[in-house]
């Protein structure tokens, strides 16, 4: 074998090994997550998780969000549009995956707002003002308070609640479930227990449409 052939064959073997490894790993990972979701819906939905829509809705979307993640907010209004277009058919469950620095505190504040029945208005208020309190991928919880004014929240109680061990436990549970379900980036969606085949708004809509049509 001459040098050029030797080199070409080696390069081809390496490239092939990488591709085969990638395919095998993705397949194994997909099976693993599917098995978990099948075996138990527990890691997907917990009692403490805020939900929107009717519990009897045939389609359940579980979304893992990071309050400081911009992409999450790009998806949110479109998910709501989809819900509005199919009244009573879709339920949204929000889980926290606060991967950004400082995000866990903002998640705790939102969980505390949930205690006062104001999770969704608080979420939308923070979403609209994300630029102000989350710059350079760092969430600054001390800057969120002005944006929560006027929602009728008892901020004093909220600040006390967000430091409670119960809420810390909820966030820890969300993070643990995210780990089990292999959520490494946000937003991540599970539609009736099924994860996105590839990331993007199109695949999400397809998954929702399939579930709406009972093809899941």
């Amino acid at each position: 074998m001459n040098n050029k052939t030797l080199f070409a064959v080696s390069a081809a073997i390496l490239a092939l090994a990488f591709t085969a490894g990638t395919i095998a790993f993705k397949k194994a990972e997909k099976n693993r997550v599917a098995r978990i979701a099948e075996y138990s819906r527990a890691p997907l939905v917990r009692d403490h998780a805020p939900t929107l829509g009717e519990a009897s809705a045939p389609v359940s979307i579980v979304e893992f969000i990071d309050p400081a993640c911009e992409t999450c907010w790009a998806f949110y209004p479109r998910v709501k549009e989809k819900m509005a277009a199919n009244p009573g058919k879709i339920r949204l469950v929000l889980r926290f995956a606060p991967f950004h620095e400082g995000s866990d505190k903002v998640a705790a504040a939102l969980a505390a707002a949930h205690r006062q029945g104001k999770f969704w208005p608080a979420l939308e208020a923070l979403m609209a003002t994300q630029d102000d309190w989350a710059a350079h991928h760092t969430a600054r919880v001390e800057k969120i308070w002005p944006h929560l004014d006027g929602l009728g929240l008892d901020l004093k109680k909220l600040k006390a609640d967000m430091r409670s061990p119960e809420i810390a436990g909820e966030i820890a549970q969300d993070l643990e479930d995210a780990r089990v379900l292999n959520v490494t980036k946000t937003p991540e969606f599970f539609v009736n227990g099924k994860g996105l085949p590839t990331f993007g708004f199109g695949p999400l809509i397809m998954l929702i449409d399939d579930a709406l049509a009972g093809r899941d």
Partner: protein
């Protein structure tokens, strides 16, 4: 120069040494990309420095193979040595020889965290150190042949 002359044999041994170094560098590069891009393990900062010195080797060594340019050792060896030093430092950090206080990275992914431990002892920095050490050895051998000749 006739085929089979000592010079040609010398050349083909040097070529194989550099080729061997490339196989290791390319495997290490693909392996690092597999950990990062496929398994989605975020690289810690020391891992980034090891990548910085490993990835160019996968490119620079084959350039020196076609046609054989022995000078490639001169350009590649410093990269391998510096990368190897980072890997050695990383190993000492994981082993706990280097104390917490001088850890260069505490934010993000801590470098002292073992994300992979195969057979109870194979960690990513160990793979990196082994790759660097083999590349250094092969390139040094190739370099020595050259200086003996002069």
């Amino acid at each position: 120069m006739m085929a089979g002359s000592p010079r040609v044999q010398e050349d083909s041994t040097t070529w194989r040494l550099i080729f061997g170094a490339w196989v290791i560098a390319a495997s290490a590069t693909l392996g690092a990309l597999f950990f990062g891009e496929v398994m989605k393990l975020p690289p810690c900062s020391l891992c980034w420095y090891q990548r910085i010195f490993m990835f160019p080797l996968a490119l620079i060594l084959p350039i020196g193979l076609f046609p054989l340019d022995r000078k490639v050792v001169r350009y590649a060896l410093p990269l391998a040595v510096i990368g190897g030093l980072f890997a050695a430092f990383h190993l000492l950090l994981i082993a706990g020889v280097i104390p917490e206080s001088i850890k260069p990275c505490s934010r993000g992914v801590p470098c002292s965290e073992k994300v992979i431990e195969w057979f109870g002892f194979v960690t990513i920095p160990l793979l990196s150190a082994a790759a660097s050490a083999s590349i250094i050895t092969l390139l040094a051998l190739a370099g020595l042949r050259r200086s003996n000749e002069q």
